[in-house]
């Protein structure tokens, strides 16, 4: 069996560099098996090489196979903006469906409930889905977590300027849902929305950090 301190060094370096735990586990398993072979051959374990070099090589190889690993600036600075816009687009479509459903089920008096529901869920669903999407492609990127936090920060800074609105209803259809860019919002609104996104982003990051800290069995 390989020196546990050496394996820990590889594991720590791999985690710091952003390699997913599943991949790190496999790498450690193979290194451990290699160390056993060296034992059988009566050769020293230092033939395996430097822990940091191996982790660095593994990270470079892992990143080279993924767009988000090769182009982190694009993936975690511009990417979150596109993801955020896409999630908003989906949410407006979802909002239209919710309002239509309320209209069918409860008639015109139900529209107020529908609008309330859409406005209420927006504050949770949009940030949660956005951050989860960024976390998902960060997980496969092999980049350090700081890139994920940077991507979340881009969204947190952009979020307060996008506002959910309802278009006028006609006699036969419910009000449409749309998002508008509002640059001149007051400080309280800006802070409240930033804080709400920040809180949900922190929750997603905390959940992801726990998931990534899965015990590695090797």
């Amino acid at each position: 069996m390989a020196n546990p301190v050496w394996l820990d060094q590889v594991r720590d370096a791999a985690e710091r560099l952003g390699l997913p735990p599943e991949y790190t586990e496999r790498l450690l398993e193979e290194l451990d098996d290699h160390a056993e072979e060296l034992d059988d051959a009566g050769e020293p374990h230092d033939r395996l090489g430097d822990a940091l070099t191996i982790a660095g090589e593994a990270a470079a190889g892992y990143r080279s196979g993924r767009f988000s690993g090769r182009h982190p600036l694009f993936a975690f600075v511009l990417g979150p903006i596109f993801v955020f816009m896409f999630v908003w687009s989906l949410y407006t479509a979802f909002g239209d469906i919710v309002l239509g459903t309320f209209l069918i089920v409860a008639g015109e008096p139900g529209l107020a409930w529908g609008m309330g529901t859409v406005a209420f869920l927006e504050g949770f669903l949009v940030p949660a889905v956005t951050f989860a999407a960024i976390e998902s492609y960060h997980r496969g990127s092999g980049r350090p977590r700081s890139w994920f936090y940077g991507g979340c920060l881009v969204v947190v800074c952009l979020a307060p300027f996008l506002v959910l609105e309802f278009g006028p209803a006609t006699s036969s259809s419910p009000p449409s849902v749309f998002v508008k860019l509002e640059l001149r919002r007051n400080g309280t609104e800006l802070s409240a929305q930033m804080l709400s996104f920040l809180a949900i982003g922190a929750a997603v990051a905390f959940r992801s950090r726990r998931a990534r800290a899965l015990p590695i069995t090797v």
Binding site: E30, D33, T53, I54, E57, A60, G61, G65
Partner: protein, 118 residues
Amino acid sequence: MTRPANPDFLNGVPELLVLRLLATRPMHGYEVVRAVKSASGDQFDFGEGCIYPVLHRLERSGWLTADRERVGNRTRIVYRPTPAGLTRLEDATAAWLAVVRGVDRVLGGGSDGEPGLA
């Protein structure tokens, strides 16, 4: 008209060696390292653990497959080249031989009559 990119020199050599050796028979990481050392006459001195990132990269590129196999009382990950890997081996070998021929010509004296460097 696009110009062909400059050939990689040592970049890609580990992949070429690994594919070549795995084309002879499936092996796990330790065996690959031993085969590289033996076939090269111990010309390469490297941290043996660095073979795994190379194998994983080739696997992700679709040039190798990795299967867990029970050998004695151990489970090992054994690598085999895929058909795409064998094609890649042919291409990489041809590219490498072209580089070697070019370097040989420079070192041995070019066709313009200039003396060689060696």
